[in-house]
Amino acid sequence: MKTGRDINNRHLGNIFAIIMMLFLIPFAGISNGDDHSQPQHITNDQQPEDWEEIVLEEEYKAGRMIIEHIIDAHEWHILSIGEKHVAIPLPVILVYEGKLYTFISGKFNHGHDAYKGFKVETAYGSTKGKIVRVKDGTMETDTASSLPLDLSITKNVLSVFFSLIILSVIFISVARSYKKRAGKAPKGLQSFLEPVILFIRDLAISSIGEKKYEKFIPYLLTLFFFILFNNLFGLFPFFPGGANVTGNIAVTLVMAVFTFIITSINGNKNYWKHIFNTPGVPWWLKFPLPLMLVIELMGVLTKPFVLMIRLFANITAGHIIVLGFISLIFIFGHLHVGLGYSVSLVSVFFAVFIGMLELLVAFIQAYVFTLLSAIFFGMATEEHH
């Protein structure tokens, strides 16, 4: 238990800083609905919602660029040359008022057009980047109608599919080489992955125990390699890498929920007794006000919640910092071209430095998520002594 708590403490400051940052980003970054191919001049009747609009006007908007890079999207943007956008259109699947709509996101023309009564919201707000209903024949958002159920194959969904295929191919081939080379020393990819597999297995044994670990080991291995693969692929800046999968809260949410469900299903009598009737505390903490129960239940929910936030925040923060350093080049470049070039030296140096740090974080976060999951399983299956 000690290791888990240590890691928690170590990351607490980190997470706190990142959460603070996340609260600051929307004010800094997300602009008020103009799209960057058509820069807008400030007029009196149009109040800009963020300071960047005023400071940088039609120039480079770092915050917006960064957010656009780290959030999910309906197309896989590769690069823009001037006004031309090179992007891979992705399938859009919508369920709206009981009807299914499927089409390619290219129909939206990078957010410029509406199609079948839908468009990608570009305006600042809670729906930014989501697909919304438009008023008939216009580009105006129909605020009166509800949001469609969006089951589109987005950039992150495609990345998840991609990692599913790659991981399956890698590990099935490794499994095959184990069968083929039974009784022999490992070779190639097999010998590269074997220490990692053994590392995770040892981790599971030490946190769950020799007797019960076997039940959880497939989940822990899958979790570790899924997170690690996507962390590393997220650092790779070109297609098919670069999608911020493990830095997306939906992805980390799903993994945290998996851990939560497995923990709850496997929780033994002892585990539930500790929650509903905590032994060793005075009775007045349980009756008439069930304070202990509330605290324990909160603890049960906090564990997966922290798992979700930790991974999301660490990976997203890394991406934000790297993109921030790169943005500095363009911010200074807009002020003066020479300044941009000189800043680029510093920026690239720091971006490389943070990139290396992120490489480390990619491993650490995959390890931490797996370790904490294993510890939770260990707590759930611990026998009373």
């Binding site: 996340l22 980003i25 929307p26 997300i30 957010i67 780290i70 959030i71 999910d72 699947i93 809670s126 930014k128 980047g129 989501k130 159920l149 969006d150 089951l151 589109s152 194959i153 987005t154 992150n156 969904v157 998840v160 599919f161 990692s163 599913l164 991981l167 399956s168 590990f171 099935i172 490794v174 499994a175 095959r176 184990y178 069968k179 039974a182 009784g183 074997e194 597999i197 053994l198 297995r201 076997e214 080991i217 497939p218 989940y219 291995l221 899958t222 390699f225 899924f226 997306n248 809260i249 939906a250 992805v251 949410l253 799903v254 993994m255 929920v257 998996f258 997203t316």
Partner: protein, 164 residues
């Protein structure tokens, strides 16, 4: 805010994909891999145990061999010792027997010499006695052939008888 509000679509696809990935890897990757690893670990453990056992056996054999060797040496020494004593005793006995035989031969030689000597002596005595008798006879005959000698003898004998 998009960044911290999880999208339903991504949650749906992620859940589905992750569950499928978990199933595929658990069934086709982790199961054979972990089994192979466990098998290999068992094999290694068994081999190590077997090696230790073989080593122990070797040691036991070696000590047994050494014991046998020392036993054989002891036996050899014993046999040699025995042979030596036997040899000595044979020599001793032979010597003793030889001297005894020699003594016996000497004794019997002495005895036979003695006997011979006795026999010779006896024969000599007998012959001497015969010779004396013959001489005496001849003498007597010569003496008694004359009458006066006969008369003297008778006289003498009578005298002697009177004395008694």
């Amino acid at each position: 805010m998009e960044l911290v509000s999880p999208g339903i679509g991504l949650i749906f696809w992620m859940t589905l994909s992750f569950a499928i990935l978990l199933w595929i890897l658990a069934k086709f990757a982790w199961k054979p891999i972990l089994k192979a690893l466990k098998d290999r670990e068992n094999t290694i453990e068994h081999s190590l145990l077997a090696a230790v056992q073989v080593d122990e056996k070797m040691k036991a054999l070696e000590s047994e061999y050494e014991e046998l060797l020392s036993q054989a040496k002891d036996e050899r020494d014993e046999i040699l010792q025995e042979a030596r004593t036997i040899k000595n005793s044979i020599i001793d006995e032979a010597g003793k027997k030889a001297s005894e035989e020699a003594d016996r031969i000497l004794e019997s030689a002495k005895e036979s010499i003695h006997n011979e000597k006795k026999a010779v002596m006896t024969g000599l005595k007998n012959q001497l006695a015969q010779l004396s008798i013959d001489i005496a006879e001849k003498l007597l005959r010569e003496e008694l052939s004359k009458t006066e000698n006969q008369k003297e003898l008778v006289k003498k004998l009578i005298n002697e008888a009177r004395l008694n």
